[in-house]
């Protein structure tokens, strides 16, 4: 063992859901925890309402263009939770029985909706997740609900991690919540982890992991320049007994690939089976007169809708197709969403365009109707088609812009199953929104940056079969004891709903196993912390489950 390297008990890579939850519980249990996070540490006052490159909006993001799939994720302390929309539904029951591309159940036998529910409860308590009321629903959500109802469908205000008493409906959630209304990890798990002594180091990008002679790990990082992420400001190594990988599904497998020469062969499923959670966006251009005429919509000032800019991300979803009796690849949810200009507008296409559909004269005309846009987000069941190619020199992408934009090695070629599911959901969105002339609808183009996901999953997934899963059913990397993966890459497949709730619940579920592994390596740590705010009812329900989660 090298005597010069810094040492910690538990080294956590990434500070999003997987990282923050692990950091909190292990620190609260008594371990020395160090978190390395490649992005900056921004606080409420740093969250600007500004699209300028270099403002919080671009500093907090990572947009990686791959071959056929682009990933948008968080890049800051708090990870995706800082930029997310805080829609936190549980995954429907049938999801856990999915077979996907492998032809047999892809989730570990130990995980089902029933066995995960107590862990979902814990997250619900920790992030104050609550069902919204119709009075909390934005204009866009109301319009989507009215359209669903008009075409004979149901619609649900979403469960969200937002304190509506503080929310001002500014719709800048993607730049970080200035008003601390959003329950990002910056206001619960992370401060609680710090209170228990966890150390968080921003602008530390992990490059690879190696092993010490006595079976511990060395984690190698670069320090990133705080404004121009293309520049490095040093590097270092930390030794740890336990490594928790939570760099997100677009980065965790890349770090493992780069570590293979040092750690030895990786399980086959590392960097395979990537899923974009089956995401797809459709842009509808609402006919304002029809919206008034068909649903009696009125904002009180003569406007029916024209409210694209107002609100708080998704507020209403249609779940009629989340029916477990339907065949796989035909189940999906349809969620109203807000997407600000800059990151997605270019992908919106002109309905019925005669020439170019994503740029040009006609595109400019629909940009002029931007306030009347309504964006619908489909989450279908895809086929886990994504595969990561050889890792780039550093990080998980070749960085192009000072922030935000990079080129990565993920290849995603949608199968017939995925394409069919996208088509079916597109057709339904069209049917609902074009009924009686309410709107004109077109899906975003995949031709420019491939499919587009903000919900990367499954690139290092858990399961029972070593051939198709990189982790066992307790999130430990096969053949590499002491390395655990707790982020979205562990989730076996698309969820048909927003994933953060499930990522968080699985991370909560992984903790007892990590604590046990830490204890076995001589770390003085125990399991049993309450929710970050001290609430205890969630803990009560999971304590009886511990014997099922620790190794004999």
């Amino acid at each position: 063992m090298s005597s010069t390297a810094e040492r910690t008990d538990v080294l956590v890579i990434g500070s999003g859901f997987g990282g923050a939850i692990a950091a909190y519980h292990l620190a609260a249990g008594g371990a020395k925890v160090t978190v390395l996070e490649r992005g900056p540490w921004l606080e409420s006052n740093d969250f600007e309402h500004d699209y300028k490159l270099g403002s919080s909006y671009t500093r907090a993001f990572d947009f990686v263009v791959g071959n056929g799939m682009s990933i948008l994720g968080g890049n800051c302390v708090g990870g995706g939770s800082v930029v997310y929309f805080a829609a936190m539904p549980r995954a429907p029951r049938f999801v856990f029985d999915r077979q996907g591309s492998i032809g047999r159940r892809m989730w570990p036998g130990a995980v089902s909706r029933d066995t995960l529910d107590p862990w979902y409860d814990r997250v619900e308590e920790s992030l104050s997740i609550a069902k919204q009321d119709w009075k909390d629903v934005s204009y866009a959500g109301g319009l989507w609900a009215a359209a669903c109802n008009h075409s004979g469908r149901t619609a649900n205000p979403l469960a969200v991690a937002i304190d509506n008493t503080k929310c001002v409906n500014c719709n800048w959630m993607m730049a970080g919540c200035r008003f601390e209304a959003k329950q990002s990890l910056l206001v619960n798990y992370l401060p609680a982890a710090i209170a228990h002594g966890a150390e968080i180091r921003p602008l530390h990008e992990v490059q690879h992991i190696s092993r010490t002679s006595d079976g511990d790990y060395q984690v190698h990082y670069n320090v990133i320049h705080d404004e121009d992420y293309r520049l490095q400001a040093g590097s270092g190594v930390i030794e740890a007994k336990i490594v928790v990988m939570a760099a997100g599904a677009g980065a965790t497998p890349v770090i493992l690939q780069r570590s293979e020469p040092h750690l030895g062969t990786m399980p086959r499923a590392v960097g395979r089976y990537f899923s974009g959670n089956g995401e797809r966006l459709n842009t509808a251009i609402i006919d304002e007169e029809k919206a008034a005429e068909l649903f009696g919509l009125d904002r009180g000032d003569g406007l029916a809708y024209a409210a694209n800019q107002i609100g708080k991300g998704p507020t209403v979803a249609s779940w009629d197709k989340l029916d477990g009796s339907l065949p796989e690849y035909s189940r999906y949810s349809l969620e109203q969403l807000y997407f600000p200009p800059g990151l997605g507008t270019i992908l919106a296409q002109v309905p019925d365009a005669t020439g170019a559909s994503w740029f040009g004269k006609e595109k400019k005309e629909i940009l002029k109707k931007w306030t009347s846009w309504l964006t619908i987000f489909s989450m279908i069941e895809d086929d886990n088609e994504g595969v990561f190619g050889p890792p780039p020199a550093t990080g998980n992408a070749h960085r192009i812009s000072q922030q935000m934009l990079g080129r990565g090695n993920l290849t995603y070629e949608p199968t017939k199953n995925t394409l069919g599911a996208w088509d079916a959901s597109d057709a339904e969105v069209k049917e609902i929104l074009e009924k009686d002339g309410l709107a004109k609808v077109m899906p975003w183009t995949n031709d420019l940056v491939g499919a587009y996901t903000v919900h990367p999953l499954s690139s290092c997934r858990m399961g029972d079969d070593p051939h198709t899963s990189a982790l066992d059913d307790r999130n430990e990397l096969r053949d590499h004891p002491g390395i655990f993966v707790t982020d979205g890459s562990a989730v076996p497949g698309a969820l048909t709903v927003n994933p953060a709730m499930t990522i968080a619940a699985l991370a909560e579920r992984a903790i007892p196993g990590i604590v046990q592994a830490a204890q076995a390596k001589g770390i003085a740590v125990t399991y049993g912390a309450p929710a970050p705010d001290g609430s205890r009812s969630g803990r009560k329900k999971v304590l009886p489950l511990l014997p099922t989660l620790t190794r004999a």
Binding site: H49, Y51, K52, L53, S55, P89, P92, R93, E124, I129, A130, W134, K135, V137, S138, Y139, A145, C148, N149, T154, A155, N156, P157, V168, N169, C170, N171, R230, L297, D298, R299, A306, Q309, I310, W319, L322, P340, P341, G342, I346, G355, A356, F359, G360, K361, K363, K364, L367, K368, W370, T371, R399, I400, S401, Q402, R407, D447, L448, V449, V497
Partner: protein, 176 residues
């Protein structure tokens, strides 16, 4: 001038003067050029600032090939891409950004930044850009922030129940 013509093809605007050749003039009001596309592209934050001369040279070469194929005679007093009529500029950009084109990544990125100059004024502080009447943000109808530069919407929803809930919904609002 070539890059102005490219930007104007992505989000077209109105000619700045009758002699304006870069802007094709197929649309009224400002387009990407007036929105500051060149300013954004030339900013080192984008990461494409270094390659702009190469991109201009390349797109002109492609324009010559395209013109040859179509049997078009190009006015030699302006760069070849600028000499193309608007529909031909569009056709060429469609070709360069099509999946499978070996240079697709570059042209998509160039297009992305041209569009961003218009739809989000990524080279300017948003509140200031709005106050100054930025043509893209104005055309899209973005509202102005409060005096402290932050947006807040007091009225944000219809406050009405619009639909039946899905019958299988848990008490905390999840699919059952």
């Amino acid at each position: 001038m070539t890059l102005e013509a490219y930007a104007d093809t992505i989000v077209p605007g109105q000619k700045r003067s009758p002699e304006d050749r870069a802007i094709a003039g197929v649309s009224t009001g400002g387009g990407a050029v007036q929105a500051g596309a060149l300013e954004l592209l030339e900013w080192d934050a984008t990461g494409i600032h270094d390659g702009l001369d190469d991109l201009a040279r390349l797109v002109n070469e492609h324009a010559e090939v395209y013109a040859g194929e179509q049997g078009l005679t190009l006015d030699p007093s302006v760069p070849p891409f600028v000499a193309l009529e608007y529909p031909d500029r569009v056709a060429l950009i469609l070709r360069l950004t099509k999946p499978g084109h070996p240079e697709k990544d570059f042209w998509v990125m160039l297009s992305l930044f041209c569009n961003m100059s218009f739809d989000s004024a990524a080279h300017l502080h948003t509140a200031q850009a709005l106050a100054d009447g930025h043509p893209g943000l104005a055309a899209m109808g973005l509202s102005h922030p409060d005096a402290d530069g932050l947006w807040r919407f007091k009225d944000f929803g219809y406050g009405r129940e619009f639909a039946r809930l899905h019958p299988d919904t848990t008490s905390s609002g999840s699919p059952a």
